[in-house]
Subunit: 145 residues, 4 copies
Amino acid sequence: MEQPTGSAAVSFEDARAVMEAQPFSRLLGTKLTAFRAGHAELRLVVRPELLQQGHFVHGGVLAYAADNAITFAGGSILGAAVLTKGLVIEYVRPAQGDFLRAAAHVVTRSGRHAVCRAEIYAVTGNNDMLCAVAQGTVSAVRPAP
Amino acid sequence: MEQPTGSAAVSFEDARAVMEAQPFSRLLGTKLTAFRAGHAELRLVVRPELLQQGHFVHGGVLAYAADNAITFAGGSILGAAVLTKGLVIEYVRPAQGDFLRAAAHVVTRSGRHAVCRAEIYAVTGNNDMLCAVAQGTVSAVRPAP
Amino acid sequence: MEQPTGSAAVSFEDARAVMEAQPFSRLLGTKLTAFRAGHAELRLVVRPELLQQGHFVHGGVLAYAADNAITFAGGSILGAAVLTKGLVIEYVRPAQGDFLRAAAHVVTRSGRHAVCRAEIYAVTGNNDMLCAVAQGTVSAVRPAP
Amino acid sequence: MEQPTGSAAVSFEDARAVMEAQPFSRLLGTKLTAFRAGHAELRLVVRPELLQQGHFVHGGVLAYAADNAITFAGGSILGAAVLTKGLVIEYVRPAQGDFLRAAAHVVTRSGRHAVCRAEIYAVTGNNDMLCAVAQGTVSAVRPAP
């Protein structure tokens, strides 16, 4: 696990404020539920508006959750000004449950870049079912010269 | 480009009905704007609810658009009962504009599987700006034995 | 971690024999150094023939090591008849050292499919430097009907 | 398609010299067969040493070919000092034939970065069989300050 640099430290409170400042995350009802150096977790309640034509959560919601969890995990060590450069997501099971939980962690940091992994679970009661597995890269935004 | 098999043929009308039957796509305002064997295109208007904390479209919306365009492209040759197994997306420019356009095509089909690629553009007037580049795999769902 | 099914059990000895039966792995000098349910590790000595134009191991060698470690990890729970369907690899540091070590594990299994992750290290003395981070999907080959 | 910048221009001859300077590419017998702004193609003869335990080319060889073709395509517009940051490869058919052909092109360039796609074919006589489909990112190396 990577150590945050002094300048990059972002508090849980600050990170939550960033999440609340994302209109799309508010539309989906996402809450940041854990945030520490190298780790971030978010949750969103499974509402009917988040489904595809069957009875499962739309893959796009899982991809959003993976993307956002990875961004916050990267930001936890790189600072608030980060961009996710890209990600891969594998859908392993249809997602059905009370809420989604996306947990991301930093695998390694190299300069301004962090490679992160995320798992997305559909949670029903005490049962966390792994639905998608992701990996992505986050980069600190370079200040304009 | 692959030829659809007789049994797999899905009309533009049928495909639009599938899109309309996705609550998450209705929430985002997605319209299927092109659909033929091996190709699908969708559009969604950039509303304030789709942004991240800056003034750009949330990466999760781009990932959703890539996922869904790839699913419909795969479905155009594999039939309506398909699942996207996974995808990779690279974000290449911040997305800002009047609407998003996601165009996907089938690169190759092998049995029940199709590898597809997609480009996601932010469109302002006559200017299509490429914002994300994706690749994914779609599989026809096997009927229960 | 997944449990192997009875029929799928592959011994370390059998797995080593598969590795030895791969001409390309012999060309590169790859040894299978660990193999148990859900986990596989391989090593290859860094010879001058494996470098790119600089003094680093060619990215293609790292991609090969990731691919093969993932295949063996998948095979450890799915049985010897498996195919890697695809993988993503992120190169995080130039690879330089005495040998490469690729460690892969199964994240989750769903039917005939397993999603695996791998880390590739360049090892010098007691120093394991993480050089690449990968994720891929392995599928058991369906017997011909 | 992107235009090379003046400073970045690399001739076919120079690019071939880079390929010849890669010991791993010499080990595999790779030849650069096409190179122009935004495009690169390489070929390698399918020798028994490149196979896996069956009669097919090892997936690691296909991943190497995709990686290298993508690097050269990126270098064609970004200049000779480039690094491939990562790639995804989907294996779509077993590779068997006289030689492999990997063709890569730049999809888009954004500053020092280029997103490229590649197709890898197994060629037998006049038959080009598509075996793998890849996408990756190449970055120009920043000179040390």
